[in-house]
């Protein structure tokens, strides 16, 4: 995409950013939806970077072994669920710090991924199919992965789940007031465990996207920190799944800013532009947070710990 944009000069910059929003935004979308579900139930999962890498590795390995990328995606979701189970079990023990478990899961998950993934760095695995959307003769077409549409559907489905279903209400109740939920006869442990496991498997699918579509290979640098900033992204999106979609597109676009400018010859500050998602998140958090009141939309479990 970026190479194609050189032919049409400066017009290529916004186009490359739009393309980047769709391509680079998809992993952000999956991890942020997973984190959103986890946090709605009142727990934080900082370890999604480990899940993302593990998902990327298992998807690539299974796709290479079986020849079917979709089985790879399934494997990534299952792998993510396994890591999620560990996280869910540990964080619900008394006196165990969520954040510390998250860091441990980053080290453990990426360690396992690098360990098992060593033999798969060289071979080429079958990739996910591409949906090509043409925008006219002079404009390069957009290549979009079907997983992106799955993610968009999931964002709206999650929104409906939280707002309109009985189970969604259970999740919100557990996240807002665990005591009240318990009094209603809801099992806090089960709801949180389920939310963390499902959230984690979504992040695994995000990893599958990385290794099977864009950048489309498996190595130890396949993730550029998407899992790490999932937590920040959810705060950015105010714990709303549909806002997660917009925020992910914005982050994907911000990520494409550096390469897009480079392709038209603006090479100074390339590396700083690459950090724009992080700078953007920090800036938004500084502007919108306050030590006087809680953020709008924050689950109750996070407000009484300050």
């Amino acid at each position: 995409m970026t190479s194609a944009s050189t032919g049409i000069g400066w017009l290529g910059v916004p186009l490359a950013i739009v393309a980047g929003a769709f391509r680079g935004g998809t992993p952000f979308l999956f991890v942020s939806l997973g984190e959103c579900l986890t946090e709605k139930s009142g727990k934080i999962n900082l370890g999604l970077e480990g899940v993302l890498l593990f998902g990327a590795m298992s998807a690539y390995a299974i796709s290479y072994k079986t020849g079917s990328p979709w089985l790879g995606v399934l494997a990534a979701a299952c792998g993510g669920a396994c890591l999620g189970l560990i996280h869910a079990w540990l964080t619900q023990k008394p006196k165990v710090n969520d954040i510390a478990v998250g860091i441990a899961m980053i080290i453990f998950g990426s360690g396992i991924a690098f360990f098992l993934g060593k033999p798969f760095i060289q071979p080429l695995a079958p990739q996910l199919p591409t949906i090509r959307i043409g925008l006219g003769e002079h404009v390069p077409s957009l290549d979009i992965c079907p997983l992106f549409f799955v993610g968009v559907a999931l964002a709206f489905a999650l929104d409906w789940f939280f707002g309109g279903t009985r189970w969604g209400m259970f999740v919100r109740a557990v996240g807002d007031k665990a005591e009240a939920a318990r009094a209603l006869g809801i099992s806090v442990w089960r709801v949180r465990t389920a939310s963390i496991i499902v959230g984690s498997s979504l992040a695994g699918i995000g990893g599958a996207y990385l290794s099977l579509f864009y950048p489309g290979s498996w190595n130890e640098r396949v993730s550029s920190g998407q899992g790490m900033i999932a937590v920040a992204l959810v705060i950015f999106a105010r714990w709303n799944p549909v806002h997660c979609l917009w925020a992910s597109l914005l982050f994907g676009g911000a990520q494409a800013l550096g390469p897009a400018l480079q392709s038209v010859g603006v090479t100074s500050y390339y590396y700083l532009f690459n950090a724009s998602p992080f700078i953007l998140t920090l800036a938004v958090m500084i502007l919108t947070c306050s030590n006087k009141r809680a953020l709008s939309g924050v689950p109750g479990a996070f407000t009484d710990r300050t």
């Binding site: 165990v96 954040i99 478990v101 860091i103 080290i107 690098f114 360990f115 590396y271 958090m285 947070c289």
Partner: protein, 374 residues
């Protein structure tokens, strides 16, 4: 209300100050001391066993792997030097998490503070090509510490003045620091002769930190030991330390008691960030000789692990850093001797960390470790 708060503060301080002095009776509360030794050792044994199973599944002999790790980490004076060289930045980085934790803040920004400290120290060192080595080193150390300190203090300030979650902001600032480093070594600081691995101009050899005696150990280890000792004295023996722990125990109680929470938060975070900043300076001035990507070697993230394993006790950080340094030093040998990928060490680290965290939930579970109330 205030009384209850004070009581809560007292109970939080207990594990750090040693509960024996705070009890009314003079009897030594040995049961909880035994508990705090038995549980971590048990956890390490369990994680060793789990790692053994993992190695066996991967087709290696677990006992031979343990023996190799021991040999590579502590087996000879040469390998122990190697361990200590890696332990030095870990000690300094662990303080970047352990000190703010006393305030009740979970900071994970050591990586960023290390990178910024190393980068700024290099910039300062390159300004003084003709000065004497001692001057250059002192200037580099001070600049590195100030840069790292300000880097982490800004997360503390954001927390105190804007209510921004300090864990998230320090994490984001790690990435921003790494981006600044990459930008610097790829543009204005770039040495044109560094082709494949962009780097800054080198610090002249004679201005580098020299190793201690005829070992490969450098001054970083001394700095690390001193920093951990000072941190322990600061936290347990000084008025400032008491104020810090009071804020960590209960911010409301601290405010009511008239403690300037904002100022102390900033000072503490500055001191905490100065340690990884110094680690960055040492990495440049004693090992790499220039600022490049090697600064971003995950010492900051491993430091978080050290701090949590040491239960945020600076003296414990020394011991755990040496153990973890040994583990990091043995990464290569597993690949050479047992054909295990070097990520095996990362798996082991992750396992130890997870099991130790699980063991936190076991404190107070067994009757035998409960103190009998007189």
């Amino acid at each position: 209300m205030e009384n209850a708060d004070v009581k809560k503060v007292g109970s939080i301080l207990e594990p750090l100050t040693g509960s024996s002095s705070s009890g009314k009776g003079a009897h030594f509360r040995w049961r909880s001391h035994v508990e705090s030794i038995v549980i971590p050792i048990g956890a390490i044994l369990v994680s060793l066993a789990a790692f053994g199973v993992f190695c066996a599944l991967a087709g290696a002999d677990p006992f031979a792997v343990y023996a190799s790790i021991y040999k590579a980490a502590f087996g000879s004076w040469y390998s122990f030097q190697n361990t200590l060289v890696r332990a030095a930045p870990l000690m300094l980085c662990s303080l970047g998490t352990a000190i703010p934790f006393q305030l009740g803040l979970v900071m994970i920004g050591s990586e960023g503070a290390l990178v910024i400290g190393g980068l700024c120290a290099t910039m300062a060192g390159l300004q003084l090509p003709t000065a004497s080595p001692l001057v250059v080193q002192v200037v580099m150390a001070v600049v590195g510490m100030v840069a790292g300190g300000l880097w982490l203090a800004s997360s503390g300030a954001l927390k105190h003045y804007r209510g921004v979650n300090e864990t998230i902001s320090s994490l984001l600032m790690n990435y921003i620091a790494i981006a600044i480093l990459n930008q610097a070594i790829n543009s204005w600081m770039r040495d044109p002769s560094s082709l494949n691995k962009p780097a800054s101009y080198p610090i002249p050899d004679e201005q580098m930190l020299q190793p201690l005696g005829d070992t490969t150990i450098h001054w970083g280890l001394v700095f690390g030991l001193i920093a951990c000792l000072l941190a322990w004295v600061l936290i347990t023996q000084t008025t400032l330390g008491f104020q810090i722990r009071t804020i960590g125990g209960n911010v409301r109680a601290a405010q009511i008691a008239g403690i300037p929470v904002g100022r102390i938060t900033l000072i503490t975070c500055f001191l905490a960030g100065a340690c990884p900043g110094l680690a960055g300076m040492v990495e440049v001035a004693a090992i790499h000789g220039r600022a490049n990507e090697s600064l971003n070697a995950w010492y900051g993230y491993s430091g978080i692990l050290v701090a949590f394993l040491a239960r945020h006790n600076p003296l414990g950080c020394i011991l755990i850093s040496i153990l973890l340094g040994g583990l990091l030093a043995s990464g290569g040998i597993l690949q050479r001797d047992h054909h295990l990928p070097d990520a095996a060490i990362m798996v082991f680290q992750g396992l130890v960390f997870l099991v130790i965290l699980f063991s936190e939930s076991l404190y107070g579970r067994w009757k035998i470790f409960r103190e009998k109330e007189a």
